[in-house]
Symmetry: C2
Subunit: 197 residues, 2 copies
Amino acid sequence: MRQFIVLGHEAPTTADFSLEDLSGAGRLDVLCRCVGAAVFLSHGIREAVRVHLVLADEFTLRFDSNSLRRLYPDERTIAARIRDALDQRDDAIGHQPAAVSPGMALYRFGLDATLDAVASDGTVVQLHADGTPLPEAELPSDPVFVLSDHADFTDSEAALLADRADRRLRVGPETLHADQTITVAHNWLDTAGYSEY
Amino acid sequence: MRQFIVLGHEAPTTADFSLEDLSGAGRLDVLCRCVGAAVFLSHGIREAVRVHLVLADEFTLRFDSNSLRRLYPDERTIAARIRDALDQRDDAIGHQPAAVSPGMALYRFGLDATLDAVASDGTVVQLHADGTPLPEAELPSDPVFVLSDHADFTDSEAALLADRADRRLRVGPETLHADQTITVAHNWLDTAGYSEY
């Protein structure tokens, strides 16, 4: 399993946004590209990938690649699915998710509870400028990569991750967009032969 | 200089398409993501990158990162720029481009003439499943990567590239989308310290 937690600091938490201006909807375009980078190969969907979009630390929308259906990699299609999910937000109560489209579930909790939910499943990896460069790093088992959107981690997120992350890795000398970082992380695992499902 | 030629086999050649359905506009969403992957870093634009979108082998739209202005990485914004450029297509005559937005130029020619225009500037690299894996490859000088959109290279494109490509490289064991491939190629050059401007 490969997992990616992406923090959308200003992401919408209601369905009240326009598909015609995703950038203006709390940079939802960034989150859509992250989903695309995480789950799609050229002619299909990767196996055993989960993406957790943390929306303004209030909701978390989980995509499970093994059961996703009829999703396409363009930003607008992914955004439309996110909007459909948020339209069901009243059904997300406590740790009971709203069941939305196949392979998607909306939870009413943020980063802390998301880390709780995934931490027992794998190695929490913070992508960080001071981390070990990928080419020098050992392969983590069942990696859970934590990334931020266009904004940096907040002080409280950084403190939480300092406590919870098992590893710190660095994707390269340049600071990439979150979706580009996901692509590089996947390629690193692919090239190293990582296939632990 | 790093250059990327992306073949958009069914891409629009007129401004007559809707920003509300980029996937339906000859998979223009793929080409938009390629532009974003090629020119953007997290908080800015890369130096010395050129992207050549070959539109149905009829027009080629060139983006020069050093002079691009007011471009943003979401698909819709990039598509709007492409549409604006195609609105000026009548000004592209022979090898004289239509001057559109800053850093963009629209030429009335396809892959063959695009290769002619760039080949003297660098090393033409075909990304191919049978190529040398990136981690084992020597760094090319002034690489010109040639990629296809969601469709494979046609027979005539493959024959042309067999003749014109200096190198064949492979990004990894999985077949990635063109934009993902661009991200991996950039990261390979970044990590290897490539900075030949």
